[in-house]
């Protein structure tokens, strides 16, 4: 399999642009989609944002200078697009599907006398949702994607110290949330 750098150079030299781009998409689409889905909790929204991200990549790939890893650049665009989408949704005052999902989940769990693990699941879900978006994003990149803080800092446009602080603040808020509930 060709490296990202090789594929990008091929794209920039206009060698079979569509095929080269498709190879890049296939390599990274799942990770980008999952990260977006974790944030928006809805397949259609995640799909729409993912498409927007890849369209931006297509439009700007000619100017990509490879000063950072492609995946860092890709996740940075995904980060911006996702946060823009959430902000737009908040402005429009639309009821997010995620909040109703949680309520449904909660009701099902209580009526069916679900095991204790489900309660933890609900609290985890709710706890993550109440975090500010940036902290959510950082938390997911660190815990689920296992990225180092340098990469997380580049993605979220902050310092390494800032990224660390975001992660630890997220955990502190989750802890407080658990105590309250």
């Amino acid at each position: 399999m060709q490296s990202d750098q090789e594929l990008i150079l091929q794209f920039q030299k206009s060698i079979q642009r569509e095929q080269t781009f498709t190879q890049l998409v296939k390599k990274h689409q799942a990770k980008v989609y999952h990260q977006i889905k974790r944030m928006v909790n809805d397949h259609d929204d995640a799909d729409d944002i993912a498409q927007m991200v890849w369209i931006k990549i297509w439009n700007k790939l000619d100017g990509f200078k490879m000063e950072s890893e492609f995946s860092t650049w890709l996740f940075r665009i995904a980060y911006n697009e996702t946060l823009n989408f959430i902000a737009k949704q908040k402005r429009q005052g639309s009821n997010t599907s995620s909040s109703t999902d949680i309520l449904d989940y909660e009701n099902t769990a209580s009526h069916t006398d679900a095991p204790k693990s489900s309660e933890i699941q609900i609290k985890l879900d709710q706890g993550i949702k109440q975090l500010p978006e940036k902290q959510q994003f950082v938390f997911m990149l660190r815990y689920f994607e296992e990225y180092n803080y340098e990469k997380i800092a580049s993605i979220t446009g902050t310092t390494v110290g800032g990224a660390k602080a975001n992660y630890h603040q997220a955990i502190k808020k989750l802890e407080e949330f658990l105590k309250k509930s």
Binding site: Q29, H34, A50, S117, L124, Y143
Partner: protein, 143 residues
Amino acid sequence: MEQKNIDKALEDDKLLVEQLFSKEALANYDRTASDVPSSYFEAFPEKLQQRIANNKPKLFFLTPIGKMAIAAAFIMIVASTFIFLNSNVDKNLALSSLTIQDISIDEIEAYVDANEWMADIDWQSEAYEPDAEVEQFYKDSIN
């Protein structure tokens, strides 16, 4: 050694969350978030290419090459204007810095010779237009 430290830091960070929620709950959370309709990823690249094709700018000046061509034309106009204005300034500077010592005597003589007839005309035109009062005084004194 450094990699070990990084791994240890990651483990510690993950442990902080796993102490609050179970590892299983976190794994379940990720599994739920990662749910996708069947063959979604197989179809995604093609769907994306179609959307890109629909989004392609139709106008030449909106394409990357078009934008570059416009930028190049603009730079050419600015550069040629700058060069043109500067060349005029240079000429004026050359003329204004010329002194009489820079012109050879031969050149001055040649110029005077060439323009002598103009000096004659000027002198003659003045001669044929005498001052009226002087003329009258002259006539009166004769009479």
